[in-house]
């Protein structure tokens, strides 16, 4: 039973050298943080997508733009306006403000509105793509960190073997096994991170292009409004 106890996961981790233990700790931390990012991003992107479809449905249902703007007022005060709605609000605020000044030409009004929407757009882009670089670096680096721990552990294990008289598989096997735990942890951290990064960056790209399309469409509506009046 002693051998079995030694071969348990905790035994392997406890018997590992300090460096390998540090590597394992680092990888565990990376895994925990990357999972935090994965869940947070997943929730955010789902919510953003839902918000986009909801807002577009309301926008294209032919409702009055002033009415739409006023509906969002309460939420805007709490700072809970997100995604495409904030784009709309930025553009519409700028548009009404410029129109009320009255002196500006239609071209100047359109230009100001588009600029405001571009700013809002870049702010949204920042929000959507937040934390994705972290997932990418966990995905690409943690296998190497794990590999480093493994190589170090195996190196030590073979160095211990050199002083033995009779080299059997039993003298190296525990060392290699404990070293391989590091690689396993590296892969464990990396695989979800890479998958999440690929999925979320595709989703973010789709979202941003939707925002852009919406901005174009909204500015064409405003353009019509400016020139008709």
């Amino acid at each position: 039973m002693n051998a079995g106890e030694q071969l348990s996961l905790w035994g392997l981790i406890q018997n590992a050298s300090l460096l390998v233990q540090l590597v394992m700790l680092l990888l565990l931390l990376a895994s925990v943080i990357s999972w935090v990012m994965i869940i947070q991003r997943g929730l955010y992107l789902t919510r953003a997508k839902k918000g986009l479809t909801n807002f577009e449905r309301r926008f294209w249902s032919g409702a009055d733009l002033n009415q739409l703007f006023r509906e969002g007022n309460v939420r805007a005060e709490k700072g809970k306006v997100d995604g495409v709605e904030s784009l709309f609000r930025a553009g519409f605020t700028e548009f009404t403000r410029l129109r009320q000044q009255g002196r500006s030409s239609p071209e100047a009004v359109m230009e100001g509105t588009e600029r405001a929407m571009r700013v809002a757009m870049s702010r949204e882009q920042e929000k959507v793509e937040m934390n994705l670089p972290f997932l990418a670096s966990v995905g690409s680096v943690s296998p190497y960190i794990g590999l480093f721990g493994t190589v170090w552990g195996i190196m030590n294990s073979f160095r211990g073997l050199a002083t033995m008289h009779q080299a059997t598989i039993a003298t190296v096997a525990p060392g290699i096994s404990e070293a391989l735990v590091a690689t396993a942890m590296g892969l464990f951290a990396a695989i979800p991170a890479v998958m999440a990064y690929n999925r979320y960056s595709a989703k973010a790209e789709w979202l941003l292009s939707s925002y852009e399309t919406f901005a174009e469409e909204f500015s064409s509506i405003l353009h019509r409004k400016v020139h008709s009046s």
């Binding site: 348990s8 999972w35 935090v36 947070q40």
Partner: protein, 260 residues
Amino acid sequence: MNNASSYILPVVASLAFHGLLIAVLTLGWEASNEPQKRQMPKFVQAKLVTVEATVKQKKAPPKVDMREKRRQQELQRQREAEAERERRAALERKKKQEAEKKRKAEAEKKRKAAEEKARKEKERKERERKERLEQERKSAFEEALEEEEELLDAREDAQAVMSVAQAIQQRIESVWSRPPSARNGMLTVVKINFVPTGRVVAANIVEGSGNAALDRSVLTAIRRVETFPEVAELAREEPTVFEREVRTTLLNFRVEDLRQ
């Protein structure tokens, strides 16, 4: 504020997920693997204890000899003492009777001498008979002893050869790495030539397993061991047995315990 609160749920979920994973790994790991221990064939170096008895028996004949010698010495001493006594008596008588009884004394002496001679003869004969008897007995005994010893020697030799062969086989098998194409039940018979230092001078496949890689792996293992201290010891202690039995050894290598 909005940003921070959106992280609470993910953090809790992630920590719970990792905790669960670690718990499952620690609990599930230990139950699964009980290390299996394979019983290694034990190589026993047995020696016949009855050799002790033959050694004792061997010592017995000299003891008999000693006793015999002692008895002979005793006899001789007795004889000498007797002769001395006789001579002294004769001298006394001679002194007493001097010349006039010289003839008589001479006759007496002659008779005595004859008597002595006869007795000596008799004694000699007796002794010879005894010696012959003893010798016969001894030779019969020795013959039997020799026969037994030969038998014991042969048995001992066979055992020594067996144990050496076993040791050689074990030594080779401990470094023998079988190729992945090997299958259980494959048998390779190898002829190995040794020199008295225990070094292998030639190893040849006598009967291949049909798998060239396996045959090669056996030869590689033999080459890797190269020197067998057991063989060297045997050659030093019993050169004849080495020449007769071990110089050219046939060994069987069977693939048995592969998991497939």
